[in-house]
Symmetry: C2
Subunit: 380 residues, 2 copies
Amino acid sequence: MTQFGELWERSFRDIGLEAGMSAMVDAGIGSDDIDALYVGNMSAGMFIEQEHVGALIADYVGLSDSHIPSVRVEAGGASGALALRQGYLSVASGVNDIVVVGGAEKMTDVADTAAEDILSKSADQEWEVFFGATLTSLYAMMARRHMHEFGTTAEQLAQVSVLNHTHGSMNPKAHFRNRVKLEHVLGSPIAASPLRTLECAPVSDGGAAVILASMDKAEEFKGDRPLVKISGSAQASDTISLHARSEFTSLTSTREAARKAYKRAGLTAKDIDVAEINDNFTIAALMALEALGFAEKGKSGPWIEEGNGALDGSLPINPSGGLKARGQPPGAVGIAQAAEIVSQLRGECGDRNVKDPRVGLTHNLGGTGATSIVHIFEVV
Amino acid sequence: MTQFGELWERSFRDIGLEAGMSAMVDAGIGSDDIDALYVGNMSAGMFIEQEHVGALIADYVGLSDSHIPSVRVEAGGASGALALRQGYLSVASGVNDIVVVGGAEKMTDVADTAAEDILSKSADQEWEVFFGATLTSLYAMMARRHMHEFGTTAEQLAQVSVLNHTHGSMNPKAHFRNRVKLEHVLGSPIAASPLRTLECAPVSDGGAAVILASMDKAEEFKGDRPLVKISGSAQASDTISLHARSEFTSLTSTREAARKAYKRAGLTAKDIDVAEINDNFTIAALMALEALGFAEKGKSGPWIEEGNGALDGSLPINPSGGLKARGQPPGAVGIAQAAEIVSQLRGECGDRNVKDPRVGLTHNLGGTGATSIVHIFEVV
């Protein structure tokens, strides 16, 4: 992954180029080895007035000479994991041997308020956004309801941010490397009550890329590093607007995607050693912990408060710093999560490496949960 | 496919819903039969301020209850065929049994000039569009150079538009059903010299959807209608900007995609009985005829002038009316082309049906040719 942050001096294509080339160098492959490119990007159209970014990135990483197919996919904040999943399916099915999956977003070429407007386009424009709702205010309603139903506290929500910043402080590529205390989060300005500014993931630029290969090909290129395979990949949908759901304290699409991913991998939530989850807002992380089966329904608040998600906890969450501290370029998030988990499983994360993890999980979310994508990774 | 045109009374989701539901009814399948949804859309972000349209369409066609995965893909004007190809690969590889592939675009909620701006975002924003180039002016340069190198005439270019309008007049769902004569085209205002207004495909709303199934499943659902299979599918890339190419009188990505598609189908250009090609501008159609192997390099002008592309010609081109007359909602074009070819092969096109076609081809293009996608369809 590239540095995440406010990358004033770098354009979208520079970021995509750096991510793609770095992944190719890391894997020791050349452009002749690549069968296809998958690009995750949420909204280059609105952020930088550029569509057709699949072809653009293929061109800039030097793949246009070989005319390989390039596929841009989009599912709001889950665009990165969607690219990962499409690339994975193309290899698992035998269509391709080696693919590059990259994701990038350049958010800071527009004003912060415009960036939030654009992020909100992953909710329902006609029935939510047009009437003034933003992604933040929709999640705020979910948070308020979760507090009402389950007694979740402001402190428990804030603890998610504290955890992410603690981990992010150890990640040199994170957007924010400052640690925060509970009182900082609880003292930060209200974004949409009960959510405070330090509970909302930032507007970030950044890119990430991974190389996927069939097991045979991966053996060829792995060198002396542990081989990591994707043993489960699943995607599920839900209604795009909150009002159409029977309840909004559950991420039903996440629960469905997790159920399928666990089934395909032959594993359960208990087998996961480390997870990267979608904390675009603190409440999203709490609901994800429940939907993924890590915490019981309604008990995610205490679960976090007890320190289960710490690097030395029962299930380390977001060692990268998560969306809150590592940063949130929507097209890149799902792929950066995968890069973090692979690095964790290889033991390449230094101070923030979880102790000897064997199985990792990534969870990426679009909108208020209309799309969820879950991947499970295992050391072979 | 839905009616194409200026659909003032219908929203993007209405159009997507109609296309998806019509395809399901036509195929006799219900939502329980569907494994996944693929959605082609170029720029809902800029046209209607809505991203995450994969989830949106899944929701509105009633698939959110079953939580099936929905994948939105984008490749400029080739977004529709890209969805078709991703859906096809998912079935051909055995991942899915039955998928819905839909495409839609709602272009008329913005001004005409804004629509051309947005279409131009499929070219290179930083190195072409920022400096004033539009998709029209880039194609105009290609046309001028083709005229210079090969003696292609304004009349030959205009003949492409005459052909499309003739065919479109027989298509009840076409955006334009008026016939035009050569003098109308040549007398229409200059858009970007040498291209005239009647040589440029319009700004259209519209949607289209097809159901893809494994051969086993297709046998189950086909009823008493001929079964049509996809025997070739290929995609190729080129540089996103014109200036980076060694020449711009060739659509190299189209040539590469066609070569691969013919190879997979075990066919050559001579085996094609009917084709839907990407005439976003008249020059694009001429260059496509050459890249697809229908006309010799530099000879597409005379080829069209001699009437080869007519319904009773040696190779009928765009019986639907093409992008020029049927209309050009970018996300839907590639899928409407497939729907037309399938209807042609089934003999369901009435007056505009080519005589007993057995093999059809679709050609869909993004930008100035940075993405090309070719599909070959055969009656089983």
